[in-house]
């Protein structure tokens, strides 16, 4: 089996992450319960004629994928695999609202066409002229990991040599309203600095697109090796420790080998206990970092975690803003990522320095 490498990245998030020459040099603060991305100038990347039917999520995906390809020095890939938890919610809301408002008459095609979950992957392929494998995984907070796992297996078995993968989700006004009603969104505003101490239920909702070029050949500008990915739909808290131990054993890695643990803490007092059981347990002496105070929570927020891990391994720097504890490792070679959302759809991802 061939090894799999992260060869290019492209990130649009609530931080200024699109310029690959920078690495969280400037932090965009907030005091809110819902935060949007820092929008690039989309016209710089997408012709106006093509962009006019694209909602924000599609534009974010197209731009992030272009940046990732450019970063990898490629013009095309063998396959495009996208992960999205909610798909194109803006056009879905528009279409469903039109059905209700117009008594199921006068339905226009654009919002329907653009509302499907695979619109992002489709538009990226159209833009690139990529006629290869194109698949979209819709699996809540395991959507991105499912895309990553698919790509990893294809690259390991040399069914492809380069694959574009990404996680993308956009905010939709009605969807936010519903999540607020069911207490999935924090009841009071928080800032990045006090997210974990908010003492409230729910998360700071957000959006974003993080794309990566994966390949099975190591190049000069490679970020990291993608060693392993494992997902769990259900993982009771009492089984979490055994699951992470087994994941490490399966990949011939000791707990002491993990230089950095990247966790998806979102400040939800009910569900952060999963993260706490690892950070206060077997990884208490490991350097720990977190990132959802920077990018917010969305179904594919873990793709921001992978972006962060890849950047750390490439730059060999850990920005102070992501520190979860005071431990400082002497080397940055092996990173374990753990994510879950509301106690479901857990994932472990292992990255290694090249």
């Amino acid at each position: 089996m061939k090894k799999v490498y992260i060869r290019g990245v492209g990130s649009i998030s609530s931080q200024k992450t699109l310029d690959n020459k920078e690495f969280l040099d400037e932090i965009t603060g907030y005091n809110d319960t819902v935060i949007s991305v820092v929008n690039p100038v989309y016209k710089d990347y997408i012709p106006p004629a093509a962009a006019r039917r694209m909602a924000k999520g599609v534009k974010m995906g197209v731009v992030a994928s272009k940046v990732a390809l450019e970063d990898a020095g490629l013009e095309n890939v063998d396959a495009i695999i996208t992960g999205t938890g909610m798909g194109c919610v803006v056009d879905s809301e528009k279409f469903v609202s039109a059905i209700i408002d117009n008594n199921e008459e006068f339905l226009t095609p654009t919002s329907f066409i653009q509302s499907t979950h695979n619109t992002v992957g489709g538009q990226i392929a159209l833009g690139l002229g990529c006629k290869g494998y194109n698949f979209t995984y819709v699996h809540a907070s395991n959507s991105f990991e499912s895309a990553m796992l698919d790509a990893k297996m294809q690259l390991e078995f040399d069914e492809a040599s380069s694959i574009l993968i990404g996680g993308v989700d956009e905010l939709g006004a009605h969807t936010v309203k519903i999540h607020r009603l069911i207490d999935h969104i924090k009841p009071v505003e928080v800032s990045p600095a006090n997210l974990l101490d908010s003492g409230t239920k729910g998360a700071v909702f957000s959006e974003g697109a993080n794309f990566f070029v994966l390949g099975n050949a190591k190049k000069e500008n490679t970020y990291a090796e993608l060693v392993a990915v494992e997902t769990f739909n259900d993982l009771p808290e009492e089984n979490l420790l055994e699951a992470v131990k087994k994941f490490l054993i399966d990949n011939n890695v000791l707990i002491e080998d993990i230089d950095v643990l990247i966790q998806g803490n979102n400040g939800d007092v009910v569900y952060d206990r999963y993260y706490n059981s690892l950070s206060q347990g077997i990884f208490s002496k490991t350097q720990q970092i977190y990132y959802k105070h920077l990018c917010g929570e969305f179904n594919t927020a873990s793709s921001f975690g992978v972006w962060l891990g890849a950047k750390i391994l490439k730059t060999q720097q850990v920005p102070d803003i992501v520190a979860l504890n005071d431990v400082k490792t002497s080397k940055l070679e092996t990173i374990l990522l753990y994510n879950q959302y509301r106690g479901e759809n857990h994932s472990f991802t292992l990255l290694r320095k090249c």
């Binding site: 106006p48 006019r52 039917r53 006068f106 226009t108 654009t110």
Partner: protein, 85 residues
């Protein structure tokens, strides 16, 4: 009639998301499809729905749209002659 033409230009820009086009840039006799405004087949479907919803005109044969959507001038004349609301 000029009021209707103005209204059509506004609706086309808004409903077809022509963000970079202003009302002044659309001439009454400019071609809406092809080399003119550059609209395509999906836009044609949007315009058919707009005729039905806003003016009560049902186009049973989509081929009719080719003539009706030739320009703002032609559209306005057709709507003025056939509108039910």
């Amino acid at each position: 009639m000029s009021k209707l033409k103005q209204e059509l230009k506004e609706k086309i820009i808004e409903q077809l998301n022509l963000e970079d086009v202003s009302i002044e840039e659309i001439g009454d006799d400019d071609a809406l499809f092809g080399d003119g405004l550059g609209l395509d087949s999906i836009d044609a479907l949007e315009l058919i729905v707009m005729l039905d919803k806003d003016y009560g005109i049902k186009l049973s044969d989509p081929k009719e749209g080719r003539k009706i959507f030739e320009s703002i001038e032609v559209m306005a004349n057709y709507i003025a002659a056939n509108r039910t609301k």
